[in-house]
């Protein structure tokens, strides 16, 4: 196990207990490096979603500071950063999931196709149909596989009769790469599937309501490498139709799947750049420290 941990840069060393307590003299704490705004290219021409002056508070505590960021149409944007850096919070801003937390307050302008998603006219339920979400832990409803996928479509009245609904469920399962494995078991409970299958079921459920943006919060952190590869492959296919924002703790995953990468640190957006650039020659020292697994 320790070998596996040690092969992943950024993971704490498995033998940290044996490590000498003395820190090297040139150790630089994360507080030494000042974050003055975002470096790189946070803005794109063909923005699907964008945020300006995003500030998020949990009660008195500020979780996100002045984030300006665009997510381009049909691109996969990866958000990386240490725990508590605000990346998941930011992701939840994008489909108003933070509305469900009473003490949470979101400031700034957030738009989807130029429309204010926090505007008075915006219905959060409809917004979440356009901006779907997949969570870290697969969370299928305790219903059949069929009903899991059909749930959103029924809620939003996307199918007018049974055969249309059948087609929709089948198409969604095919897109999620799950249909072949479950086509004879559609009436069996979704909770009986393996973890990777459950996660793909959740993706099928998310895409069944035909969203425009899919938000993924560490979608593969509970899955084995093969299921992970399947889902990454799926993301690559999905990006031709959808815009995807993914929060991940696996830097290799960010490097593999995304076109742009955003690095968050202590609630601030430090750097956004093309993924190639971030992983070969990042602009900001903090990004460099984080992705090479150095003291933050």
């Amino acid at each position: 196990m320790s070998d596996i941990l040690n092969t992943v840069p950024g993971m704490p060393s498995a033998d940290s207990l044996e490590r000498s307590e003395v820190k090297p003299e040139n150790h630089r704490s994360e507080f030494d490096v000042e974050i003055n705004g975002t470096v790189g290219k946070p803005f794109v021409d063909n923005a699907k979603m964008s945020s300006r002056n995003c500030n998020v508070f949990y009660g008195d505590k500020q979780a996100i500071f002045d984030v300006d960021l665009d997510i381009g149409n049909n691109e996969i944007l990866a958000m990386i950063g240490p725990s508590g850096c605000g990346k998941s919070t930011y992701l939840r801003v994008l489909n108003r999931m933070n509305d469900t937390i009473p003490i949470c307050r979101v400031e700034g302008e957030h738009t989807l196709d130029g429309e204010d998603i926090y505007g008075k006219k915006t219905d959060p339920v409809l917004l979440r149909a356009r901006v779907g979400m997949v969570f870290q832990k697969p969370n299928p409803f305790p219903k059949s596989i069929y009903d899991n996928v059909a749930y959103g479509a029924r809620l939003h009245g996307l199918a007018s009769n049974r055969s249309e609904l059948d087609d929709l469920v089948e198409a969604s399962l095919i897109k999620a790469g799950l249909f072949k494995e479950v086509k004879d078991d559609l009436q069996k409970p979704g909770t009986g599937l393996s973890g990777g299958q459950q996660q793909r079921l959740c993706i099928a459920r998310a895409i069944a309501v035909d969203p425009e943006v899919i938000l993924m919060d560490e979608p593969t952190s509970a899955l084995d490498p093969i299921a992970t590869a399947t889902i990454e492959e799926l993301m690559d296919e999905l990006k031709s139709k959808y815009t995807i924002a993914i929060v991940t703790h696996s830097m290799q995953q960010a490097a593999r799947v995304s076109q742009r990468t955003a690095y968050f640190h202590l609630g601030k957006l430090v750097e956004v750049n093309e993924t190639d650039k971030v992983f070969t020659n990042p602009e900001h020292q903090l990004t460099e420290n984080y992705i090479t697994g150095r003291f933050g």
Binding site: S13, D15, R19, H27, N281, N289, T292, G293, F295
Partner: protein, 242 residues
């Protein structure tokens, strides 16, 4: 460029070890080159033999370092400056190994030249050129050890001098050959040695380019020196002009 500490102590040690091995290999290659040049200039047959047979250890080091780089890539998936370090090392050692080969060639020719010295007298020209090449080799290894991109760029500018020296020497050798056809054999040997010296300079320059890549993250191969200076080191120009 500063290289901080990884969270994983062992990862640190692995990268540090690779760097140290490259420096060790560089030291070995540098001393090989020095010896070969000494053998050439002093007509020292024993020393020449010594260099010609000790190329083996340089080759072995190249294989070892390559293997270690492969292991680090497989196990650590290095990124950013770590990735550039590993890539630069893989390239640097290729050039170091070639420098070793050239030193070996010089040693082999000087063994033959030592048998009948002073037929073709190019001692002062060869000695001058050797000094230039040795200083470039030494400084480029130094730039690699200190991750000094500014130093590396300065070295890139010195290549022209070596080329001029090679031209001068070639003209001199031609006159010898025209004077007396019996000189041709040895004159050609001297010419090949000079050619090897020039190649060593080129390889040392490649090392400097990798140092710039490692530090600045910019690939400057096949780019003119003026372009490199103006694009990546604008500060230097300001200083030298003011």
């Amino acid at each position: 460029m500063e290289i901080g500490q990884h969270i994983s102590q062992r990862y640190n040690e692995e990268l540090e070890q690779i760097r140290n091995k490259v420096l060790q290999m560089g030291g070995l290659v540098e001393s090989q080159t020095k010896k070969a040049i000494k053998a050439l200039l002093d007509h020292d047959q024993d020393l020449a033999k010594d260099v010609a047979t000790s190329d083996q250890s340089v080759n072995q080091m190249e294989v070892d370092i390559d293997e270690e780089c492969t292991r680090v890539i497989a196990r650590r998936q290095p990124t950013a400056s770590d990735l550039r370090l590993v890539i630069a090392v893989v390239k640097v050692i290729t050039d170091l190994e070639r420098i070793g080969d050239e030193a070996e060639k010089i040693a082999r020719y000087s063994k033959k030249l030592a048998k009948n010295p002073n037929v073709v007298d190019t001692h002062s020209e060869l000695s001058h050129m050797s000094q230039l090449v040795l200083s470039i080799l030494h400084d480029s290894l130094d730039a690699f050890a200190r991750l000094d991109a500014e130093g590396a760029v300065e070295i890139l500018g010195r290549d022209e001098k070596i080329n001029k020296e090679l031209d001068k020497l070639s003209r001199l050798l031609l006159t010898y050959m025209m004077e007396d056809p019996r000189h041709i054999k040895n004159a050609l040997r001297v010419s090949w040695c000079a050619r090897s010296l020039e190649r060593i300079g080129d390889h040392a320059q490649n090392i400097c380019e990798y140092v710039i890549y490692l530090v600045k993250g910019k690939d400057v191969r096949h780019t003119s020196l003026e372009h490199i200076r103006s694009k990546y080191f604008p500060h230097d120009i300001d200083v030298s002009e003011s």
